[in-house]
Amino acid sequence: MIKKILINILIICFLISSILFNFNKFIRINNVLPDFILIFTVLNGIFFGPIYGMIFGFACGLSFEIVSQFPIIGFYALIYTLIGYSTSITRILYVDNAFTATITILLLILLKSFLFLSLGFLFLNIDEISFYFKNIFIIQTIYTVIISIPVFLIYKRFNPKLRKSYNHDV
């Protein structure tokens, strides 16, 4: 359990640093990065269960907001928590290969944009929302979907047993 927590803390640290620090310029396309937090939240949800996904998403979102000096603490934490919870759809959509994982991630990206829109209307100004949808959304969606395939395969390679146990739990 401690090992699992440590690994996840390391993943979170890696994610936050990769998102915020300058070395990510090599992987930016048109100044847009893939949504790594979403990918890992969804994969955690798929492989270890929605509770795990929720907690991971919450922790990641919160860390991101704290480190990046985002004006509203809890905004992304809430979005990624809900995304983590939404990985429950894998009860219906059996995710066992890269294709279904990609479909799940695509659906959850759409959910994220919906949440961003509704929560953004409450807490952000309209310019930030329109900037996201005009300049980031499409590129980030495509980029995230593409990146999610190798990440899923890596996850699957390292966690075959856990995936199996999760399926039995469900």
Partner: protein
Amino acid sequence: MRIVKGFLYKYKKILILFFLIIISFVFMFTSSSSAVLNFKKIGLSIIFPFQYVFHATGSFFVNTFNSISELKKSRQEINRLRNELKQYKQIIIDFNELKNEITNLNNLLELKNEIENELSIDSIACEVVGRNPENLFDVLIINKGSKDGIKDNMPVIGYAGGKKILVGKVVEATLFASKVITIQNPSFSVGSIIAKDRSHTIVQGSKKNPGIVKLLYVPKNYNISAEELNFVYTSGDSLLFPGGIEIGKIVKIYPSKKYENFNEADVQISIDLSKIDYVIVLKIDTNKEIIKFIEGLSN
């Protein structure tokens, strides 16, 4: 206690979700001064995405249909502009043509005045209306004939680079048009003089190379110099051609096959006979008998 535990275990996922949501909201409301719990705003925030999606979808279709009609209009506009551009191009071509013609006519007028002042010879400007289709350099048809006072054997000159250049002579004057043989024609010959040493020579037409005529009786000691004085002019000895009209420039000297004491030379004609549009006919009243006599002498 067991019931509570069972409830917690059964709904742990939902409970954790609610717990995290509450924490998130607490954070949001405490961290942002702009975030005030306003139920109207919350209601709107739930409706807003749907409104946004409907609006975006509606706009998409409206814009698509508008784009189609715009595309049609743009295509019509492009076609109209293409036609206009074509017309403007034609206008530019016509304008350039007109400009060239005006320049030519000005030059011709200048030349005509010069001839009349310097040589005191009456002259008439003519347009070249036809050529020998087999050899553009050989024969020209001009638009003036005996009605305008043109007679056989009248000399014809042109204008190039500010100088008057010998073109040929009239060989057949009809009522409205005349036939001119150029200096390139093998049957044409004229007495000439080399500018450098005033040697009297004869220029004879040749079909060997376009733009090149033969110069006969070139002195053996004559060499082509680099000082640009190798020009050949009409000598003025003939009754037909006045002296001092430029013919061309000597480009090559070679030994004569007929006469041991003389060389022959190639002369590059100073005017491009294939591009000549206007000429001037010098109205020199030539006496046919005298011409016959001279021809008899030369033969």
